[in-house]
Amino acid sequence: MSRFFATRAGVWSGFGAAALVLFGAAPLLLSGFRLGLLAQFLCYAIVAVGIGLAWGRGGMLTLGQGVFFGMGAYLMAMHMKMADAEFRNGHGAVPDFMELAGIRELPAYWVPFASPVFTIAMILVLPTGFAVLLGFAVFKRRVKGAYFAILSQALAGAFAILLIGQQSMGGFNGLSRFRYFFGYNLDDAVNQQMLYFIAAGVLLVVVAVALQLRRSRYGELLVAVRDAEERVRFLGYDAANIKVVAYAAAALFAAVAGAIFVPVVGIISPASIGIVPSIMFILGVAIGGRASLVGPVVGALAVAWAQTALSEQFPSAWTYAQGLLFIVVIALLPGGIASVAALTKRFQAKSATVEAAA
């Protein structure tokens, strides 16, 4: 099976099947509401692909992906609030939530976000650039392993606290009540479906990029750094550069996911980007299989679905289930679901040889 998917035909048919499900079956079978929910889950899956790359392949347990997710989301939300205010009250108008907070003048750093092009450029550049800077700061000084994990977690906490304190960024309530997405009405079912298609398309692109990164020489190098960083350094590579690339890619994926998340869900607040949401991103990746390509996607979708389906009937049981999933999957099945497939395959192969020998 996995052999097949390593071939060109396999890759194509894999992507083909995924596209068929995402673009064909899902819109036909799901109600508008469920499709919107799926779009939200796809955003989590996009984040998960990046974590799979940074953690699964690169060994960097990033417990602060909420920061990059939040950056992308807030940047998009700023544009949408600006566009909304402009449409209602003319150019340079103050968004509604600022009026409520008693802010009468548009803060200067908001002004350029009236431009869609500027906004998209910032979504692509700002979180990635921040990840590069932070990555250099910590990786060059060889801060790694647990130290890196805890720092990234503290970063998520600090970022959420910082946002809560900024009334001009919506404070604790965050930014919500968006009406238009680049000029399209958000309450139109057709446009909601369009958002779903964007999420699905971006997920496929992100998976393709991750696939290319994994199979390239860089991908091999990344695994080498994960398993023996000093050896790589003594071969003449700057290991920090190699890690920064994966970290920045993960940040970019998270930022793009955040940017799509905002129009899909209709709100972004510090509650979605702090320490706990950041660590919850990890859960799906761990369950699906951190080092595999598709595992994180499947895991993220499964966890999000389970949360929605189970939490309403058994809110207390779901918290137990979450905790136990962390414990059981990571302690007993560090390769996630993906490794179950590999194990059964090996088992089958073994029994096949036994039969052949008999």
């Binding site: 700061a137 000084r141 805890i150 720092l151 977690q153 905790g323 962390f326 414990i327 990571i330």
Partner: protein, 294 residues
């Protein structure tokens, strides 16, 4: 002037709280390299130990004195179970330990919620710790003085145990060189379990003490955990001395920064300071040098 004295004391006091919360971590994370995200829940267990003890005993003063050692045993016992069930199987996978113990923390929080209910419960402050004493014109709460004293005692005891007892020498030997310690006949299994017991027990003690100033609810431990980790990171692996200096420095920084700014910005400031600091000293304030390549 009053405010300045008050703030300096606050820095010291905040530092002592951080230190109390971080001391156990400094042992388990610093000495063993195990990142125990359930440490916060062990603190919470200490809080509820104080609550239950008070329900049983009645008198707030007596129950506090009983709860301190009981909290140590409760936290320590939970730590032993965790070590035996999960952590010892994961010594080669520190990042996985982090995630597994996070899961344990989630479960423990929910257990507390189901057993004690979600709202905060009240642990009465004993009569002799109510009110404040006058210090250079500022009222300093007795509870904070008590916690400060407790932190000093705890650090002293841990340092003495590490330095002068046979068990402490074994711990230091295993930290210094696990293989060599093994060949010298030290069971690193027993030492690991023992270290975890002491580290988690200290979390329990911290929990009991923190009921004097904070709330006792299922999420109590969470509020201390990240700060405590930052103390250990900034202080350097395996160094009690580093944890003490880092805790007091961070506490004072937070208190001073907060006076001139907001509490929220102070938190962000602490993070920035730590990242910058790690640029200068990536291994923390004080480091153990080893020849290993890890």
């Amino acid at each position: 002037m009053d405010l300045l004295v008050g703030q300096l004391f606050t820095g010291l006091s905040t530092g002592s709280i951080l230190l109390l919360a971080a001391l156990g971590l400094s042992l388990t994370f610093g000495q063993m390299g195990v990142i125990n995200m359930a440490h916060g829940e062990f603190i919470m267990a200490g809080c509820y130990t104080a609550y239950v003890t008070q329900q049983v005993v009645g008198d707030a003063g007596v129950s506090l004195l009983i709860a301190l050692p009981v909290g140590f045993l409760v936290g320590g016992a939970m730590g032993l179970v965790l070590e035996w069930l999960l952590v010892r199987h994961l010594y080669q996978r520190p990042l996985d330990t982090l995630l597994v113990t996070f899961g344990v923390g989630l479960v423990l929080q929910q257990v507390a919620r189901d057993v004690f209910g979600a709202p905060a419960v009240n642990v009465t402050v004993p009569e002799f710790l109510r009110g404040g004493v006058d210090l250079l014109g500022t009222a300093v709460p007795k509870t904070r003085l008590f916690i400060l004293a407790l932190a000093v005692v705890a650090v002293t005891v841990v340092a003495l145990v590490l330095r002068f007892t046979a068990a402490g020498r074994r711990i230091r030997a295993v930290v210094g060189n696990r293989d060599l310690a093994e060949t010298a006949g030290i069971s690193s299994r027993a030492v690991d379990a023992g270290t975890f017991f002491i580290g988690s027990g200290l979390a329990g003690v911290a929990g009991v003490a923190l009921t004097l100033i904070g709330s006792t609810s299922p999420t109590t431990g969470q509020s201390y955990l990240v700060d405590a980790f930052l103390v250990v990171v900034a202080g350097g692996m395996g160094r009690i001395k580093g944890a003490v200096v880092a805790a007091v420095a961070l506490g004072t920084f937070q208190a001073v920064f907060e006076t001139y700014s907001t509490a929220s910005l102070a938190k962000v400031g602490v993070f920035v300071v730590i990242v910058v600091f790690l640029q200068l000293r990536p291994q923390g304030l004080f480091t153990l040098r080893t020849r290993s390549l890890a």
